[in-house]
Symmetry: C2
Subunit: 456 residues, 2 copies
């Protein structure tokens, strides 16, 4: 797919430079709007605006829908108000609201009055839902019919409304109070007898989400039931919108990226990496790095406090990175297992006891394996025996590793579950913050075990 | 959603224990098959098999499709061959092939001969495609029509074949050689005039994937074009299957989990966390932990080699965790940014220079920030001045932090891109393996800078 873009890009650039708008249009004629959007995103902002204006009004809408939000905002600023308002009015309600929200204050104030009254009210209503809720994700263009018409009448009604609906593959049956009483698919309609009544063939137990449900919950439902779309109802059971499978796919993708960034200890980016500002990146990374740095200052302090223990014995210092990294790495594995399982709904905080038992078991076995390697290393170190008996040192290292690794597995699995229970995001328990915690606990464990076993 | 399951589960258990199959059926009557699957997965294997047999033959198929593979395999082993073969025959071709592949050798040999000849051949053909390819993911039940019929004839043909097709929302137009020449949606058909010819209203530039394309590529295409399904063609351009949006959602979910596990340094699990064997977990985690442990042994060795540098000055030892974690954390952030951007197709290895310049810039700025905090700490440490001038020590720490953090950003961004370029998985460059690398390089940098600046 991307190869197409790469092949055509230089030609498009040249035509644009020469102002040959017809050649540009010819070059793009047979491409899918998503591919044109791809090309547009790879152009300089000015070239992009020129290409956009070279498209037919219909194509502009189709291409615009496939652009990243940051490119969309750029275009709104560069393209004249006239053609832009036409595009914005033609967007689906959810895309329109997202765009308006992403615009700079100033531009938003200019654009809003140019929209039709009904669209403006709808934007306001959609923007009033909390971010990341079903309401903020949904589109209001769904296909609805009353329960007491025939299949033939339903198909006729669909023909009329289809062009303005996000999908007509699911048709929702609403009573006179807009309450959702049934659902059927276009496939059901096509297969049914033209004289059948809708209320007799519709599915009555409709699975729905509420307008204030979290988008992750919505995504999980769509995925679980393999729906093309899920209906969204308000507090009174009235249907207000649908969330479609492609919206859900965007949510899943976005959440996976955000989780990965959080787990690597940084504030999630809003735009893509290359489109994020340099100092925005510095801020989102730096805040966490400085916090972690302060954490490691405590490790330093701990280390300094045990100077009398390690100052006489070089090998004790040399083994510090082993102890610290073993606890951190094991904890990181436990955390990622629990965080992903929570995200996929495979486990809930209610499974805490079962998970923690399992992780303590894992920690003990993994700790023994690492302790074995560690003991071998100590016994072959060579010069430790001058000061303390090698076997004792090996015992101290083994005990430390076992404790630290088990502790890592325990904390790595428990902390994300506690976070979840408290309604916080488990992914914030990042690998690095766990490492800092384990460094501090590792040093405390290590030196106390050493003091105890070696009697120094 | 999950609340339903939790509420009903105890009742279902009780009815099962008492052998009241009719009560079980009544309890589940109004539930969606996905919810019944959810309940079944939370039962003991024997209870699960009993519940499965209490369902009607039609429900068995619907519920089975929503079960995780490991639960499916369990059921095949426990439920009698007769009812099971009925279910397997009714599955869609892709689900059937996946199940057959997941069965233990022995069971597979028993089941295969019980299937109809045509199904058996199809399973063999689907299993012959490489794992994670479009061919292994696709279903062969798509709706196809010839180009020279009318819309009315097409709708009639659809009514006949619909029940056995995975989706009829996209209808593919094939010529007499099964080559894909066009596509239209059910919406197009419903909106068209009954006497229109298919070839006049179909879309001719069909976007397709090839049977040996990687599943990630397929997922990216479906996502990019917002398709409900994408056609799969063989080397001769003949259409052989479709990959639907819900298959793609499963791929995305699976890849996100696998990437997260790889980035936390463990071999990805095949089943969910709670369903993975205890010692399978130990192996998948232990292998990496031991490898990382060996890596940290090199850090120990490096540390030991510089004993003469640090033995006289406690603060030098105390600062080790600061230096090491700063490099590792910054590198981890860079790695996750690059790995996710590569996964989303936002950057390619061709963008290396641009990305690396950016990351070196990030490293320098972030390094300066951390150096500033580090310098403050050193100046307020209190007792370093006894041995070396405090300002000099502060300078050494600042220079080390700046170097290590920049190096971390450089390696964290470069290594995943090199891996990608070499055709390897960039996510294998995990946070922990980067930490080990940065620990070793951190120690080398730190002690050499200290020697140079402090002249010890």
């Amino acid at each position: 797919m991307q190869d197409i873009t790469r092949l055509i890009l230089p030609d498009v650039r040249e035509h644009l430079a020469q102002g040959d708008h017809e050649d540009v249009a010819r070059e793009l004629e047979r491409l899918h709007p998503a591919d044109i959007a791809d090309i547009l995103s790879h152009l300089d902002p000015e070239e992009g605006a020129a290409l956009f204006l070279a498209l037919s009004p219909k194509d502009r809408v189709d291409v615009f829908e496939h652009l990243d939000e940051s490119v969309q905002v750029d275009l709104v600023e560069r393209v004249g108000r006239g053609p832009m308002v036409e595009v914005i009015e033609a967007l689906s309600s959810d895309d329109r609201a997202d765009l308006i929200q992403a615009l700079p204050e100033e531009t938003r104030k200019e654009i809003l009055p140019l929209l039709a009254q009904a669209d403006r009210n709808e934007v306001r209503r959609l923007l009033s839902y909390p971010e990341d809720s079903a309401g903020a994700l949904m589109s209001t263009e769904f296909a609805a019919i009353p329960p007491d018409i025939t299949v033939r009448e339903a198909l006729e009604s669909l023909r009329r409304i289809a062009p303005s609906r996000e999908t007509i593959y699911y048709i929702y049956v609403l009573d006179e109070n807009q309450r959702l009483v049934g659902v059927l698919s276009l496939k059901d309609l096509v297969l049914a007898h033209p004289d059948d009544r809708i209320q007799d063939i519709m599915t009555k137990d409709v699975i729905e989400v509420r307008v204030d449900d979290d988008q992750e919950e919505v995504a999980r439902a769509v995925e679980k039931y393999d729906f093309l779309a899920i209906p969204v109802v308000d507090d009174l059971g009235r249907m207000v919108g649908i969330v479609t499978q492609d919206d859900v796919m965007d949510v899943l993708k976005e959440e996976a990226t955000e989780d990965a960034q959080k787990m690597a200890a940084m504030e999630p980016l809003e735009a893509s990496y290359l489109r994020s500002g340099f100092f925005e990146l510095v801020r989102k990374r730096g805040t966490w790095l400085v916090l972690l740095f302060f954490g490691e200052l405590i490790t330093s302090q701990t280390l300094a406090a045990y100077e009398s223990t390690w100052s006489s014995l070089a090998i004790l210092v040399a083994l510090i990175p082993l102890i610290n990294s073993s606890g951190g790495n094991t904890g990181g594995q436990s955390a990622v297992l629990v965080i992903r399982s929570l995200a996929l709904g495979e486990i809930t905080p209610g499974d805490w006891f079962r998970v923690v038992l399992r992780e303590i078991g894992q920690g003990l076995v993994l700790g023994m394996i690492l302790a074995l390697v560690g003991v071998c290393r100590v016994l072959f170190w060579g010069d430790a025996g001058n000061v303390v008996p090698e076997m004792r040192l090996a015992l101290a290292v083994a005990l430390s590793l076992l404790t630290v690794v088990t502790l890592g597995a325990f904390l790595g699995s428990t902390i994300p579950m506690v976070f979840k229970k408290l309604g916080m995001d488990p992914a914030v328990m990042s690998n690095p913050s766990l490492s800092v915690t384990m460094d501090i606990l590792g040093m405390l464990t290590y030196f106390n075990v050493v003091r105890l076993v070696l009697q120094i």
